[in-house]
């Protein structure tokens, strides 16, 4: 297997299962708990996150590669703009979320309403920023290219979607259960999320 192919497998399987953003890296817990009450909204949120994360990875790795990491010489000293990474990435993600919001409102008003506050909150979804930052720091021959970063972004988002959909299905079933008063609501959800995370621990060592 060539190095690129093996890295491709590491990126995809790693991002979806082994180093799942929610259940292993514990990023993006806010929408994970907030939008998982119903499977329908969870699916909508997953779609939105996949879209935003893939696009954000693409755009920010392009900016990172061709602008921020470009060395230039000023006054005899070689410098670059890498210190602007966080700032620029946040701006990019925020505008992308804006775009998704505007488009969604026109295309599917129902989904727009059901996502409610969580759509603009993708802006501050640490999973998106985390993914972009990880891309910028990557050293692998595939992930450090713009298309490798996009693949990684997409796969991380799929991992996020997987966790969200699994969890929302569990919560829908949980609605039917008779839960002791003290554990009702978020408490039992967090316990469930913990058990789900432990289950995902079983994937470690897969790649």
């Amino acid at each position: 297997m060539s190095e690129l192919t093996s890295e491709f497998l590491v990126i995809t399987i790693g991002a979806i299962l082994v180093n799942n953003f929610v259940l292993s890296k514990f990023l993006g817990i806010c929408p994970f708990l907030g939008v998982s009450k119903k499977l329908d909204t969870a699916l909508g949120m997953s779609g939105a996150v996949i879209f935003v994360m893939t696009l954000a990875s693409l755009v920010s790795s392009l900016i990172n590669q061709f602008l921020l990491t470009r060395d230039f010489v000023i006054g005899g000293r070689t410098m670059n703009l890498q210190f602007l990474q966080t700032l620029v990435f946040i701006v990019v993600i925020a505008s992308l979320v804006q775009l998704v919001e505007i488009i969604l409102q026109k295309v599917s008003a129902k989904l727009y309403e059901s996502l409610g506050i969580f759509l603009p909150l993708i802006t501050t979804n640490c999973a998106v920023l985390g993914c972009v930052v990880l891309n910028a720091k990557a050293t692998g021959p595939l992930q450090s290219t713009w298309y490798g970063a996009t693949i990684y972004g997409f796969c991380s988002a799929v991992g996020f979607a997987l966790a969200l959909v699994l969890f929302s299905s569990l919560r829908e079933k949980l609605d039917l259960a008779q839960v002791p008063k003290a554990f009702e609501g978020t408490a039992i959800s967090l316990v469930t999320a913990g058990i789900l995370a432990m289950a995902f621990l079983g994937f470690s060592g897969l790649v």
Binding site: D175, L176, A177, Q178
Partner: protein
């Protein structure tokens, strides 16, 4: 068609307690001085009243005519005067309109139709009309008009007629005694029903715990190409869909009728009523009912006129020896608890059952422990535990997705549930809510 019956999935084996009344020969109940005939005795449209207060009626005279195709006429159980058209407690706990008849003691016959002596040569349509005119309904408990089942719509072919003599409900022995004592009439009824459907033969399904009835029927069955099929003892063997599967191996899909798998099922008591209506010209005005239970002094099987008050029926059985805890119409699994002794015997009252206080106890429903016993015993292969939880949370849409409509309300799940969950009631409720939602949508 193999002779070995198939075993349907699930089912339970409650103690049958049939010994209380199984050896008691059917007795004719004496004439009473008052009968209360409940108007709406069938599934479908209620019949239309033909008499008014003060009218003098003869035994067998029409009291009400069919109010549509899925409806049957009603006949006077004896001669006398209509004393009132008033309400009386109904079997479901709601007061229902009823015709009160003061008997004159003459029991004077005034049949609405003549016997058809030569039924072998009588056209099927005329025989079917006679079944309708005689007001015969499914006497096993459902009360579905018999003629409707005998009128398959254009293009629906019927190849099997099954007579239901399973009597899988514990305690009840009315059909058992009927098959034993009137085996010829059962077979004759089967032959007439087969002729109406254009069939040559019929099958009678009987649970193996009635060997005397099986032997007796086998003796006389040969005369009309009727086959007797012993069935393993397993509740609900007598449920229509389970019986069809046991005998033919065909499964009736959810929401479909036995007709859709080319079968017609009639109760043995209905078959006897058909034989009486055709050969003797007697409309459906009496039926054999088991009066039983531990608190009953002398349990037994009686031939009651339709409209006999339950209180009178219990009197005939010698009254009670102890205060009963529960009065049921039907068997202990599917019977309906009664709150009044004023209910009267209807065409589908197969049993009057008293339960003593040490046989029942008040349970409170506990959370489901997911033991899966209800899933094991469910003869319809649905998931009682999951549906029940959905209903508990008023998620009737989920219950619908989980096919709660397939439930035949046999009560097996409630019987085995270690948490004493009211599963059967959950399903009944869900079915009603789903039906009313559909109605609202159609409006």
């Amino acid at each position: 068609m193999s002779d070995k019956p198939r075993k349907f999935k699930g089912g339970v084996h409650p103690s049958d307690s049939k010994a209380l009344s199984a050896s008691c020969a059917i007795q004719d109940a004496p004439l009473l001085d008052k009968y209360v005939v409940i108007m709406h005795q069938n599934i479908g449209a209620p019949p239309q009243l033909l008499v008014k207060k003060g009218d003098v009626v003869k035994k067998g005279q029409l009291l009400a005519k069919a109010g549509g195709f899925v409806s049957v006429p009603l006949h006077a159980p004896t001669s006398g005067t209509v004393s009132a058209i008033d309400k009386c407690p109904g079997p479901t706990g709601i007061s229902v309109p009823a015709i009160h008849i003061d008997a004159d003691g003459e029991d004077e016959w005034g049949s609405p139709f003549e016997p058809i002596a030569n039924w072998q040569n009588c056209p099927a349509g005329e025989l079917r009309q006679r079944v309708w005119d005689a007001g015969i309904v499914g006497m096993g408990g459902a009360g579905f008009p018999a003629h409707v089942k005998l009128s398959p719509p254009e293009g629906k072919e019927i190849d099997t007629l099954i007579l239901n003599g399973a009597e899988c409900e514990p305690y009840l022995t009315a059909d058992h005694r009927l098959m034993l004592e009137q085996a010829e009439d059962v077979v004759l009824g089967a032959a007439i029903l087969a002729r109406i459907l254009g069939l040559e033969s019929a099958v009678i399904g009987i649970e193996e715990n009635k060997p005397d009835a099986i032997a007796k029927l086998e003796e006389v069955a040969g005369k009309y190409h009727v086959r007797v099929q012993p069935l393993p003892v397993n509740y609900p063997q007598g449920a229509e869909k389970q019986l069809i599967y046991a005998i033919t191996g065909r499964e009736v899909p959810v929401g479909k009728l036995p007709m859709d798998v080319k079968c017609v099922v009639q109760n043995v008591a209905s078959a006897v009523a058909v034989a009486d209506a055709v050969v003797k010209g007697i409309p459906s005005i009496e039926r054999v009912t088991t009066v039983t239970g531990r608190p009953v002094k002398t349990p037994g099987n009686w031939r009651f006129r339709i409209g006999t008050p339950i209180a009178k029926a219990l009197e005939l059985a010698g009254g009670i020896t102890e205060q009963p805890a529960k009065l049921l119409l039907g068997g202990p699994m599917m019977g309906i608890a009664q709150s009044s002794l004023g209910v009267t015997v209807m065409k589908n009252t197969s049993g009057i059952l008293l339960i003593s206080s040490d046989e029942v106890s008040l349970y409170s429903s506990e959370p489901c422990i997911r033991c899966g016993r209800c899933v094991e015993v469910c003869p319809m292969s649905i998931l009682p535990a999951t549906i029940s939880q959905a209903v508990e949370n008023k998620r009737f849409d989920w219950a619908q997705e989980l096919n709660v409509q397939a439930c035949i309300e046999c009560g097996s799940c409630s019987y085995v549930c270690p948490s004493h969950r009211p599963l059967n009631q959950h399903f009944k409720w869900a079915k009603v809510e789903i039906a009313s939602k559909l109605r609202r949508r159609n409006d």
